[in-house]
Each structure stands twice: as structure tokens, then as C-alpha cells.
């Protein structure tokens, strides 16, 4: 047996290097994000051949958009192109909410109940939220595919007018960035909550997405909502995200209350509400994570 290595013999960066135990927040976070993303992508994509995976990625959001188009056809017989454009953009963008929430909660439940490796993540040096965000990144990639395909189908088959040269790209980038951060914040809070719950919490992200769907002006202007819910809608970043995205793509504001706001106000409101929600989401996750550790819920399987 070879003698133990002395400090002088340790290769910097190798397993024996004590410096590796020193926390490096940025590097650890980046590594957790990258590892989570790689793992998430493998889990989401390698169950099938690429063609079937591509079909899967686009059928769901396109189906959601078609429900809404069928509603317009049933009532107006296709005579409301403005309404169809409004619905197609809202429905296409909503794929991010479903994907983001499901990705984060799914990571918790999948890794705890099915793969049973959540406990190893929890005891590792990797920042837990960073790993979860990375783990859900694959869902966001799938959502992006659905978003783009739904828009293209809207343009090709449903008469939606989106001119790539007329799109307000800076507004689109700012809206999407703010919206995605907000969705991740909601998802992180939800993931923390689901640490306390049993396996059936699978359906909860969808339920929450359904609630946000109602109050974010996704498929109808918020003016249709009762007064109190309009206040809730204005306090949610998802409302401002969708409004910014619609303005950027369609070149006009949503008729009604939001039309009174200029683009700068929309971006400012998105940033402010996203900042508040992100802080709240972080606090909620930390609270539930601590509670789960105290009660031994991190490695508890609950199959029922």
C-alpha cells in the first residue's frame, strides 16, 4: 500500500486537495445548474427517438391553442382575426408557465419518489435551488419549441400577422427574460411546498398554472374579470409579461385597461413585480426546505 500523500504531494484541484472543500458560491452554483440541466435534458429527451420527441414537444401547446381557436370559430366563425391573434400568442407563451412549474416540481417529486436521489443532492455541496432550476431547463427548451411552432402555425393557418421585421425585439427580449424569471420564482416556491407533500402533488403545478391562466389575461383581456381580480392581475408579473410579449409580436397593445400603459410602464411593472415575487419565492422555498430537513421529508417516499 502506498503511503498517504503529504500536503506537498497533493495535486491542486485533485480529490485530495483540501481547497476543494472551500465553498465557492459562484462556481458551485454554475456547476449545479449545468449538471441539473444535463440531467434534466437526458431524462426529458432520451426516452424516445428525436421525431417522436419533437412531436411530443409541439402537440400539447398546439392542442391548447386549437381549443381557443375552436371557441372563436364556434362563436364568430373565424371573423375575428384580432381575437385569434390575441389567443394564439397568449396560448403559445403559456407553454412556459406549464413547463417551468412542472419542471421544478417534477424535479422534486421525480428525484425523491422515482429515482430516489434527492437526498444525495440535499447533502451535496450543490446549491439546491440552482440544481432544481437547471433540472427544469429542459422543460423550458421544450416550451420554447412549442411557443415557436404555435406561432408559426398561427401565422400559416390561422391568419395571425407577425412580421419578423416589425417585431420589437428589445421589448420581446426584456419581456421574455422578466417573464421567465418570474415563472422560475413561482416554481421554486411551489417546489418547496411540494417537498412537504406526497406523490399526488404531480397535478399541483398544473392546477396553479390554471389559476394564473385565469388572472393573467392569457386568453381574454383582464377587463372582463371582476374588479377585485383585476387588481390581482395587475400585481402579477405574468400579466405584464404577456402584455409585453403581445405588444412586441403583434405591434399593438391589448384593448382596454392595459392599452393606457406605454411600453416603458409595461417593462417597469414587469421588473417590479418580478423582483418582489423572486424574493418571496426564495423565502418560501427556504422556509419549506428547512422544514423538510427538520422533519426528514427529503428522502421520504410516499407512493400511493
Amino acid at each position: 500500500m502506498s503511503p498517504p500523500a503529504t500536503a506537498a504531494q497533493v495535486v491542486p484541484g485533485s480529490i485530495g486537495d483540501p481547497a476543494r472543500a472551500t465553498p465557492r458560491p459562484l462556481a458551485d452554483t454554475a456547476r449545479a445548474l449545468a449538471t441539473g440541466a444535463r440531467l434534466g435534458w437526458a431524462i426529458e429527451s432520451n426516452w424516445s427517438d428525436p421525431l417522436l420527441f419533437a412531436i411530443y414537444s409541439i402537440v400539447k401547446p398546439v392542442g391548447a391553442a386549437l381549443i381557443l381557436v375552436a371557441i372563436v370559430w364556434a362563436i364568430a366563425g373565424g371573423g375575428q382575426p384580432g381575437a385569434i391573434a390575441f389567443l394564439v400568442v397568449g396560448s403559445a407563451a403559456w407553454a412556459y408557465v406549464g413547463g417551468g412549474l412542472l419542471g421544478l416540481v417534477g424535479a422534486i417529486l421525480d428525484d425523491r419518489e422515482r429515482y430516489r436521489m434527492l437526498k444525495y443532492i440535499a447533502v451535496s455541496q450543490a446549491p439546491f435551488p440552482a440544481f432544481l432550476v437547471g433540472r427544469s431547463a429542459a422543460q423550458l427548451v421544450i416550451a420554447t419549441a412549442g411557443f415557436l411552432v404555435t406561432l408559426v402555425m398561427g401565422v400559416l393557418f390561422l391568419g395571425v400577422r407577425i412580421d419578423p421585421f416589425a417585431v420589437r425585439w428589445p421589448l420581446l427580449v426584456m419581456s421574455m427574460a422578466g417573464g421567465l424569471v418570474a415563472i422560475m420564482a413561482i416554481g421554486i416556491a411551489m417546489a418547496g411546498f411540494c417537498l412537504q407533500l406526497r406523490q399526488e402533488a404531480w397535478s399541483y403545478p398544473e392546477a396553479l398554472a390554471g389559476a394564473l391562466y385565469l388572472v393573467s389575461g392569457t386568453i381574454f383581456p383582464i377587463d372582463v374579470l371582476p374588479g377585485a381580480l383585476q387588481g390581482v392581475a395587475l400585481a402579477l408579473p405574468t400579466t405584464w409579461w404577456l402584455e409585453g410579449t403581445r405588444r412586441a409580436l403583434l405591434g399593438r397593445p391589448t384593448a382596454g385597461r392595459l392599452a393606457a400603459c406605454d411600453d416603458a410602464t409595461v417593462v417597469l411593472a414587469l421588473c417590479a413585480t418580478t423582483a418582489v415575487l423572486t424574493l418571496a419565492g426564495w423565502a418560501v422555498f427556504r422556509f419549506f426546505e428547512r422544514r423538510a430537513r427538520e422533519r426528514g421529508l427529503i428522502d421520504q417516499t410516499t407512493g400511493s
Binding site: I71, I75, A83, L225, S304
Partner: protein, 308 residues
Amino acid sequence: MSGGRSAVEVAPGPEPAGSPYVGRRTASPTAAATWTAGRFVTVNLRTILGRAYPRVVGSLREPSWIVFEVGMPLLTTSAFVFVYRALQAPSMYVGFVVIGGAMTAFWLNVIWMMAAQLYWERGSGNLELYFTAPIHMMSILLGMAVGGLFASAVRAAVVIVAASLLFDVRYAIVDWALLVTVFLLTLLSLYGLGMLLASLFLLWGREAWHLVQLLQEPVYFLGGLYTPLRVLGPLAGIVAGILPLAAGLDAIRQLAFAGSGSLGFLPPGVEAAILALMAVAFLVLARFALAYIERIARREGRLTVRWQ
């Protein structure tokens, strides 16, 4: 190990009368392995109850599902109501959406808690126990259905009652008897379809989970959950013939709202007959498919494969 009895010391012979391992006294091992019809029925009834039990008790132990699975779907249904209001649609459409929203509870229960459940059971290690126990797989599936029906029925009832009150939906029932019959036939054929899908999921790994995802929005669209089936045009004929949800909803709407017959795809009586046929076909197919797929799964060694 000191103190423990070795195999040599244990004399073969009948278990003591009070032993929990003795279900009934028999004259011989052959007699013990012979099952009467009564015993077969009793054991399978106990299986149904046994599989339904954790679902009902589990849902009572963790009441958060009431908020997420009852309250939130109500909001989704409301979203579609507001779309119709924004389009200034006739009030009858609001009623259509409410009934569609309620029926999603049963569809979600069938695809998530029944069709895909065997996939979860395999992951948690229960599937091998089911197959080694002297019980029929359809009893397990029926137990899942009964247990799941509890939460689904609560969810559907809350959506119907709350949304009807909130949005002032007025029902004008055409024929109560036919309405109840159609509803029950819809459930029967839906759960029959769930059993058929469950057999397929025995073979699949993660594809199962993704297939369930695909069976949501596209089925909501094709099943006419939020729009009359007639909007689909010629496609409606195909859908009504293979998807119980489509035929059932179309008939229920026509029977719940007098005067909506012009928006219906087929007369309710015809749709009831289609549903009855589907129920029989799905249950018979499920019976054979389960046996067939089980054979394949055993041969290919997939019954205990996990994490694939």
C-alpha cells in the same frame, strides 16, 4: 444464530389453529389450491377494496388536494367562461364549459391515476406483488378506479355547483333518466378505456408519462370539452366513435340544456348506444390486452424494470 430454530428442528406439519398463515382448514395441499367461485369473488372484492383504500384514506390525510384539485380547476373552467363572455357568446355556452370542466376531473383520473398508474406501481415495487398475488389485475384497476372516483366526483361536483352559482347557469333537463344513463355509460366506457391503456403502460417506461401529457390538451380539443363537438366538422364523427368523453359530453349537454339540440352532433339516444358499445368493447379488449401484455412483459422481463 443462537436461540433461533434451525430448519432441522422444525417438524413439518399443520400450522396451529390460531396461525395467521392459515386462511381455512383443508384436507390437503391440492384442496388448498382449489378455489371455489365464492372464494374467487371474495378475494377479488377484497382486492378492489384494498386498492381503493389508500387512495381514499390518503386523500383524507392530506387535505391540500382540496385546494389544488378542486379549487384550482374551477379557476381554469372560469377562464374559458370569461373567453365566451369576452366574445359575447349566448349564455348556453357558459353551461357547456361548466359541464366540460367538470368532466375533465374524470378524464384526468382515468389517464393519470389508472392508465399510467401501473407505470408508477412498477417504479415503487408494487407491480411485482400484484402479479405474484392470486388476484386478477382488473380487480386492482377497478380498485384504483373506485378510489380515484371519490376525489374525481368531489372535484366534478364542486365545479358544477360553484361554477353554476357563480356564472348563473340555468339547466333545463330534457330527460333525467337518459341523462343519468348517459353519465354512467360515459364513466363506464372511460374507465374501460383506462384499463385498456393501463395494459399498454405495462410495457412502457417513461413514454407512458409523456403519452399521458399528450392525452390532455389535444383530447380536450378533440373531445369538445370547451366547445360543441359539432365545431370539429367531419372529424367529430371519428372522435365520437372512439373517445367516450366526446360522445358522452355531447349527449349530456343536449340533455342538460333543452333547446341545444341544434348544437349537438348526434341525438342523445344514439350517443348512449355508442357509449354502451364502447364500454363493452373497452372492457373486453382490456381483459385480453392485460393478459397478452402481461405475457409479453414477463417474457421480456419488464415487470420489474425500474428507472428506465
